[in-house]
């Protein structure tokens, strides 16, 4: 053995090396190669599958709920079963789907690529986060199977002090899921700070990265408070330490402070990544750098920080002091500013662009319209006099679904359609994608706009039964939910067909100037960035070419002839 060979052998194989001609999916085979991988792309894909499963489960619960609400009184189940169903719908959608959705799945896949890094800063920790997520999910499943968890996803005391111990299982599950979120956020911050390639300075950072970065800040600073809250809750339930339970001299309103100190910023964990995707997609499909780049980037950071100051608006009628209510109301309005800045800048980006309307762009434009409704109805809830009437009614339900579904889920779908060819290497059927979009868009508005009207008429939320006068609107809402369901089935079939028999995608099917596109996987060599991610006028013809490599060769050959 030569000295060189010996030295070679001593170095462990580079887990990031992908041989020529293979891709990240095919270069290794078998379940074990996936479960032990530290490749951020594979981890991202595993997250993607996991959250889609959670989304499916949460969606099924939603349809069951809407079916029950077709008629007042019993339709298909008893009151206590209904209460379990909406608890599971909320908890699964919030903790298992929407919080990890964009950051952990798409963020993991694209963050290192977009900044020219080989991987995130701590790849093993990244894999550990995924396992922690799975363990948390298992505990949540135990809670579902073990019994009767009907506290709502907010676990308000003293109601959560009663009943069996399945609430403790759920609490432990969410506690564990929280650490997955914290570690992912920590990893991303370190990655953005320390792993950027030369030329990738802060003013060139793709807006997707800015959004994920702002999200990560909240994940690290807010989630531990959820952890301690749940720890105290579980301790209270098992031992009775007397902090939240009034029967022991504790304060149930204090629990709400603890809970919302995390859960309000968590709303921004959910929405900021959606906004980040919209910024990418709008730039790509307008062929234009995002207008007011720095303002959009800074508005993400501003939202992340302001998100910490307004949690008390969930407690305007809780019995907290009037003084606190005043301060929280005033601060709440400030949140409207950065949200508005984003919307205005997106509109300005469209101006003088070259706009095409493929499915990712449709979802992003729908995001703008729906998020506008979500944001404007937020004004009703920030304004004290109207909030008193609308608090805890269907108006609130509609408002947050407009933000979380019309916003985050539409943003997520936009990103999923946009990056699908990059992740899977295949194209999907654009016509069916548009059919699914139209169904989901119409179904969504039918479902939730009727809930605004229900709420302003005084229909409280979390109601199993209701007065007869509300029935027409409830039936409309349920009808809309079924349309959404059909839309998602169409979309699932469309994506499944793409996986099975979709045409091979080129390197850059949308002709984007983004950094993540022109290379088959991560950058083969460490890149030196010389232009911004949206500088279409500086990108080369090769970078923007939408076809496959073979088509490019043919294209060049033709050019040579000419």
């Amino acid at each position: 053995m030569t000295v060189e060979a010996e030295a070679e052998a001593a170095i462990p194989a580079d887990p990031h090396h992908i041989p020529e001609g293979a891709d990240y999916i095919t270069h290794e085979h078998g379940l074990k190669s996936w479960l032990t991988t530290v490749d951020h792309k594979r981890i991202g894909v595993m997250y993607l599958i996991s959250i889609l499963l959670a989304f499916f489960a949460g969606g099924v619960f939603a349809l069951i709920l809407r079916t029950e609400l077709l008629t007042p009184g019993k339709t298909i189940m008893e009151a206590d079963t209904y209460n379990e169903m909406f608890t599971l719908h909320g908890a699964i959608m919030v903790f298992l789907f929407i919080i990890p959705s964009i950051p952990a799945a798409l963020g993991n896949f694209f963050l290192p690529i977009m900044i020219g890094a080989k991987d995130v800063a701590f790849p093993k920790l990244n894999l550990a986060s995924l396992y922690i997520y799975w363990i948390g999910a298992i505990f949540t499943l135990i809670a579902i199977v073990a019994g009767h968890i009907d506290t709502g996803w907010t676990f308000y005391t003293p109601y959560s002090m009663r009943g069996d111990n399945s609430a403790v299982w759920m609490t432990i599950g969410v506690f564990i899921l929280g650490f997955s979120s914290i570690l992912t956020g920590l990893n991303f911050i370190a990655t953005v700070h320390k792993m950027r390639s030369p030329g990738m300075h802060w003013r060139r950072l793709p807006l997707f990265i800015w959004g994920i970065y702002a999200t990560a800040v909240i994940q690290v600073l807010a989630t531990p408070v959820l952890a301690i809250t749940l720890l105290l809750l579980a301790t209270e339930k098992i031992v009775g330490i007397g902090i939240f339970d009034p029967a022991l001299g504790g304060d149930p309103v204090l629990f709400q402070h603890f809970f919302w100190f995390y859960s309000h910023p968590a709303v921004y964990i959910m929405i900021l990544p959606g906004m980040a995707i919209v910024s990418e997609v709008i730039a790509c499909f307008s062929r234009r750098k995002v207008f007011g780049y720095m303002f959009i980037a800074m508005s993400s950071v501003a939202l992340a920080l302001l998100g910490f100051l307004v949690w008390g608006h969930h407690m305007f009628v809780s019995g907290q002091s009037e003084y606190a209510t005043m301060v929280f109301s005033a601060l709440t309005f400030l949140v409207a500013i950065p949200s508005g800045v984003k919307i205005f800048n997106w509109l300005a980006t469209l101006y003088q662009g070259s706009i095409s309307l493929e499915s990712p762009m449709l979802y992003s434009l729908a995001f703008i319209a729906l998020f506008t409704i979500g944001g404007l109805t937020g004004l009703f809830l920030g304004t004290l006099s109207t909030d008193i009437h609308l608090h805890d009614t269907y108006f609130v339900v509609a408002h947050f679904h407009y933000v979380m579904v019309g916003g985050t889920v539409f943003g997520f779908l936009s990103g999923l359609h946009y990056w699908w060819p990059k992740i899977t290497g295949r194209l999907y059927d654009e016509r069916w994608a548009r059919v699914a979009f139209v169904l989901v868009f119409i179904g969504f508005n039918v479902t939730f706009f009727s809930q605004f009207i229900l709420g302003s008429r005084g229909m409280p939320r979390r109601y199993y039964s209701y007065l007869d006068q509300f029935q027409p609107l409830h039936m409309t809402s349920s009808g809309g939910a079924y349309i959404i369901g059909v839309g998602f089935v169409v979309m699932a079939i469309m994506f499944a067909k793409s996986l099975k028999s979709g045409a091979k995608a080129g390197r850059n099917p949308w002709g984007s100037a983004g950094y993540e596109w022109p290379h088959p996987h991560n950058f083969a060599e460490q890149p030196v960035f010389t232009r911004g991610p949206y500088d279409y006028h500086l990108a080369t013809e090769r970078e923007l070419f939408t076809g496959t490599d073979e088509e490019w060769d043919a294209h060049m050959a033709k050019k040579g002839e000419a």
Binding site: A10, P123, L221, G249, H257
Partner: protein
């Protein structure tokens, strides 16, 4: 991509270019982790603040039921352990493998002393019924202690919310104690890695990160001690 750096730096992971990049990333990651630890404990301090302001008498009497001499002893022990931890880091940075191991062992030993003192404190409280919340049932010596503590603090009666004080006392010191145990475990691991010669002047990152964590555990106690033991 400096392949020559990879050649003789087995500690350098493949996705990093230089040892400095790897070190800086690790350090930032650790500080972020400590930030979340702070927020985690922060919640407990908020609960403490709320109930102390609501039930001042319970807090004064409760504090008098804790032995401040034991608390002070433990404070000194933890401060000393922070010193040995920082000396372990220094030894690792200067390549003194033997001293690194010894200082790590000293830190573990001091952490052990802390836990033993804690054990005696807990044992006494369990004995006399100073238990959290719904289990609060002082008897025997405990009753006499309460009478004495109430007299010392000028409170005329037994505050109902003593149980809340002990609820928070056990949660705060318990969560802190758990962190001490985890710290002992991690330092034992570091001691073993040091014994195997994994650290050098070029690479002592894990020891440094462990020490950062240990200092944070110390800082939490620096606040817990006066807030729990020293209330008048």
């Amino acid at each position: 991509m400096s392949t020559e750096a990879h050649g003789d730096s087995h500690f350098l992971q493949h996705h990093y270019d230089t040892p400095a990049q790897q070190f800086n990333a690790a350090k930032l990651g650790m500080w972020l982790f400590l930030a979340q630890e702070l927020l985690f404990f922060g919640g407990l301090f908020v609960a403490y603040g709320v109930f102390r302001s609501w039930y001042p008498q319970a807090w004064v009497v409760g504090s008098h039921l804790l032995d401040y001499r034991m608390g002070a002893l433990n404070t000194a022990v933890l401060l000393l352990s922070s010193f040995t931890a920082v000396m372990a880091v220094r030894s690792a940075q200067t390549g003194n493998q033997k001293a690194t191991g010894n200082f790590l062992l000293a830190t573990i030993a001091l952490a052990g002393v802390f836990m033993v003192v804690k054990y005696f404190e807990y044992a006494h409280k369990f004995e006399v019924g100073f238990l959290p919340g719904s289990h609060f049932a002082p008897h025997g010596v405990g009753l006499a202690e309460i009478v004495e503590a109430a007299r010392e603090s000028g409170v005329n009666g037994v505050p109902y919310h003593l149980r809340t004080f002990f609820g928070l006392y056990f949660v705060m010191t318990g969560v802190h104690g758990l962190h001490v145990l985890i710290g002992m475990f991690v330092m034992g691991w570091m001691w073993n890695r040091n014994r195997k010669g994994e650290f050098s002047t070029r690479y002592s990152t894990p020891v440094e990160m462990t020490a950062l964590y240990w200092h944070l555990v110390d800082i939490i106690w620096i606040f817990l001690f006066p807030l729990l033991y020293l209330i008048d």
